[in-house]
Symmetry: C2
C-alpha cells in the first residue's frame, strides 16, 4: 500500500485542489472528508467512481476491514491536516468522480429549487432536510454554492446520495415543471403572499427557496404557481432560510 | 469622547474577558457585536444597563446620530479586531449588564426547553425560531451553551430581547410546568413515540429539545406528558436539532 508523508507531494497537491470549484471542474472529481461520509459514498457510488481513499494509520486500523478491495493510500497526520477543512480532521478522505452532469430531473415527486442561496451550511442542511422529508431531488440554480463544496458536503451528511441532484438554470427548469403540470411554489417574506398552511399536502411539486438576504429573484417570483410565506407571530424579523424551508417542506409534502 | 487605540489597554482587556463564561460571571456583563445587535439592545434594554458602546470611526460616523446620550468610546480597527469574534468585525460593540438571573418563568404561552444542546449556532437559531413562532420563553438547562456566548448571540439575532430567557435545572422546571397543568412534550428519535402531527395546535405547553448526538436525558424523557418524533420518510438518518425544533414548533403552536 502506498504511503505519503509529505504535504508537498504532487498527488496531495492535486487532491487539495479539489477543495476549489476550479479544481473540481478541471479534475472532474471531488473530495469527501470523515468516515461517516466516506462510508456513505462507498455504499452509494459505483466502485469505478471511487478514485482513491486516503487514511491515516489510526483511521486505517479502525476501518481497514471495510475498505477491502478499495484503493487506499496511507497518509501522515500532517497530510491529513493539509487536506482537511475542519479544525481537527478525522484523517480519512475519499476522492470521487463527479456524477454525470447531463442528468435531467424526472419531474416526479417533490423538488427543492435553490435560487442564489449563499451559505454552504444552509444549503447542506436544506438537502439533508429534503431527504428526511421524502423529497425526490434538489436543483442548484446559478449563484447557489456548489453541492461539491466541502462545507455543503459536510452539512448534507450523505443525503446527496439519496436524492437526484442537478445544477441548472432555474428559469428554464420552472418552465419544465409547468410543462409537466407540476405546481411551482415560490417563497417570499410578504404577507400578501399565500400562507403556507393553506397549501394542501401533496406529492408532486417544486418549492423554491431564495437568497438569505434578498430572497428569490423577482423574475422567478413571477413564474410560480403561487408564492408562499410563513406568518411570523413573534417579534423576530425573519427566519433562517434552512428553517423556513424545513417548516414548509414538512407541511406541504404528503407522506 | 474617549478613544482607545491599543488592544493592550486595560479596559479592552477587561471587555475581551466577556467573551468567556468566567469573565461574564465575574463582571456580570456581556458583549454584543455588530450594529444589528447593538441597535436591538438599545431599543430593548434599560438605559442604565448599557455600560459602554465601542465604535470605530467609520461606525461612529455611520451610527453616531442614533447614539446620542449613550456612553461611547472610539476604538481603532486593531482594537475592533481584538474584540471581534468574526473574521471581519463591523467595528461596533456594546457591553451590557447581565439580566437579573432571579427571573422565573410565568408558565404562560409556549416554552422551549434546551437540554444539553451543544452547538451555539443551533441554540441561537432555535431561540430566533421560537421568537418567530410566537413562543413566550426559552429555558437553558445545565450543559447547554450559555445564551450570552458570542456565537449564540449572533445566531439569536436579537430574539433574546423578545422572549423570557432563563438558565435553570430542567428537571425542576418540568415539575413546575406539570404543577401549572401545562403539558410537557419531549422529543426522541424513536418511532415508538408519538407522531408530532398527532398533537393538536395549542397555546400553553413546554417542548424539550435534546443534545445533538445523544438526544434528551433519559430521566427527563420519563418526566414528560408525551414524547414526540418526526417521521423520516426519506433515507436521511436524522434531522439537525434546530430543524427538528422548527418543524415541531410551527406545527403544535396555535396562532
Amino acid at each position: 500500500m502506498e504511503r505519503i508523508n509529505s504535504k508537498h507531494n504532487q498527488q496531495i497537491k492535486a487532491v487539495k485542489k479539489l477543495t476549489t470549484t476550479k479544481g473540481r471542474k478541471q479534475a472532474q472529481q471531488y473530495l469527501l472528508e470523515s468516515w461517516h461520509l466516506v462510508q456513505a459514498a462507498l455504499e452509494a457510488v459505483p466502485a469505478a467512481d471511487v478514485v482513491m481513499i486516503y487514511a491515516t494509520d489510526d483511521q486505517y486500523l479502525e476501518h481497514g476491514a471495510d475498505l477491502t478491495g478499495r484503493p487506499v493510500t496511507l497518509i501522515s497526520t500532517a497530510v491529513a491536516q493539509e487536506l482537511g477543512e475542519t479544525m481537527t480532521p478525522q484523517g480519512i478522505f475519499l476522492v470521487c468522480k463527479l456524477p454525470n452532469p447531463a442528468q435531467t430531473p424526472d419531474y416526479r415527486g417533490a423538488w427543492l429549487l435553490l435560487d442564489q442561496v449563499q451559505d454552504p451550511g444552509n444549503i447542506g442542511t436544506m438537502v439533508r432536510t429534503a431527504d428526511a422529508a421524502g423529497f425526490s431531488g434538489v436543483a442548484f440554480g446559478k449563484g447557489t454554492a456548489s453541492p461539491f463544496n466541502g462545507k455543503v458536503l459536510r452539512a448534507m451528511q450523505g443525503s446527496q446520495f439519496h436524492l437526484q441532484m442537478v445544477e441548472t438554470d432555474l428559469e428554464e427548469l420552472v418552465v419544465q415543471f409547468h410543462d409537466h403540470q407540476r405546481p411551482v411554489y415560490g417563497t417570499e417574506l410578504n404577507p400578501q403572499a399565500v400562507n403556507y398552511r393553506e397549501v394542501q399536502p401533496q406529492t408532486d411539486f417544486a418549492l423554491i427557496m431564495g437568497n438569505e438576504g434578498n430572497g428569490m429573484d423577482p423574475t422567478l417570483l413571477q413564474q410560480t404557481t403561487k408564492n408562499l410565506y410563513i406568518p411570523i407571530t413573534g417579534q423576530a424579523e425573519s427566519l433562517n432560510v434552512a428553517i423556513a424551508a424545513a417548516v414548509i417542506m414538512f407541511r406541504i409534502k404528503a407522506n
